[in-house]
């Protein structure tokens, strides 16, 4: 039976920003569904702590469109609604375009872009019927500024600082007006604001959370 608690679907909630968002939505009394390919210790811990209450995880590869659609349908049918979608799942891939494997380019587009669109489409069905809903896409500064070695990610939007060399991180921090990299909660808070009632008149906007690097 549908319950009053709102439902948030977060893609890639098994670690990093996605895991932070899962916890944040649960703290805000949402029911949360998330998907990833692997069951991390975070997911195992959440499943055990929640005993399936208000938390649902599915082993889904974002490249499998049918599986994505089936996951959304299952969540929507089971929980009765979908209020928030956060397209967070993403992969980073480094290398310059001329020497990159085509297979890797396709994978980046599939996971970072196509999966987000398929999820948005499937969730929008429920949102249309409810007459409300909120979709947040996690992008990257690379979507705004081009950098060498990230052509494909720039196109799909993603690059993961966590995978970067220390020297690279220091270089980015130096170029950032606030002088450091973001903490995960600083990014998650922006998502929680955009999906909250406080942002009820905000739509179609790009909110850049980057310490000023693209200013």
């Amino acid at each position: 039976m549908p319950q009053a608690r709102k439902v948030a679907l977060v893609s890639g909630g098994s670690r990093g920003l996605g895991a932070q968002l899962v916890s944040g939505f649960l703290d805000r009394h949402y029911r949360v569904a998330t998907l990833s390919r692997t069951k991390t210790t975070f997911i195992t811990k959440m499943l055990r702590a929640r005993k399936g209450q208000h938390f649902h995880w599915g082993a889904v590869d974002g490249r499998d469109h049918e599986a994505l659609r089936a996951f959304v349908k299952d969540v929507g049918d089971r929980l009765g609604r979908i209020d928030v979608l956060v397209n967070n799942a993403g992969i980073a891939m480094e290398g310059i375009l001329p020497t990159m494997r085509t297979r890797d380019i396709v994978e980046a587009v599939e996971v970072n872009l196509t999966a987000a669109l398929v999820l948005a489409q499937a969730c929008s069905r429920f949102m249309l019927r409810q007459g409300s809903g909120c979709i947040v896409n996690i992008s990257s500064v690379h979507a705004i500024r081009g950098h060498s070695g990230v052509a494909v990610y720039s196109a799909t939007k993603a690059a993961l600082v966590s995978d970067m060399a220390e020297e690279q991180k220091r270089r980015i921090a130096r170029r950032t007006p606030l002088g450091r990299l973001a903490r995960i909660d600083e990014v998650a808070n922006a998502v929680h604001f955009l999906t909250s009632d406080q942002a009820s008149f905000i739509t179609g906007q790009t909110l850049v959370v980057d310490g000023g690097i693209t200013c």
Binding site: R125, F126, L128, R129
Partner: protein, 118 residues
């Protein structure tokens, strides 16, 4: 639906959903005709149509626009009705005659009844 819908039932369900949207936009509409253009005659927007499709997927359990049909080919009320009839009765796509369709409807209904009994 408790039993598999017949072709006429599908038509009436699709009409019902269109009428519900129109009732909100322009007020009650007495009758729909198959030749009424969804946009030009009735004034439905693409978002209205998406809403109707979402409602019909929930009610009929099928989405003809996921694979079978392109939404851009749907102009009239009749086009929309046919899209759902074809999705629920693939015999229609193969240009099956009325007997083949009637037989398919009957088979579907028998399946449902059997499933319910179990």
């Amino acid at each position: 639906m408790l039993t598999a819908p017949t072709l006429a039932q599908i038509e009436s369900i699709v009409h019902g959903r269109i009428r519900a949207v129109l009732a909100e936009r322009v007020g009650e509409v007495a009758r729909l005709s198959g030749t009424d253009k969804l946009s030009a005659t009735l004034g439905l927007s693409s978002l209205d149509l998406a809403f109707v499709v979402a409602e019909l997927e929930a009610e009929l359990g099928v989405d003809p626009f996921a694979k079978l049909v392109s939404i851009t080919s749907v102009r009239s009320v009749g086009d929309l009705v046919r899209a759902y009839q074809q999705a629920l009765f693939p015999e229609l796509q193969r240009g099956g005659d009325e007997h083949a369709v009637a037989a398919a409807v009957k088979r579907a209904q028998t399946r449902r009844t059997r499933r319910k009994r179990r």
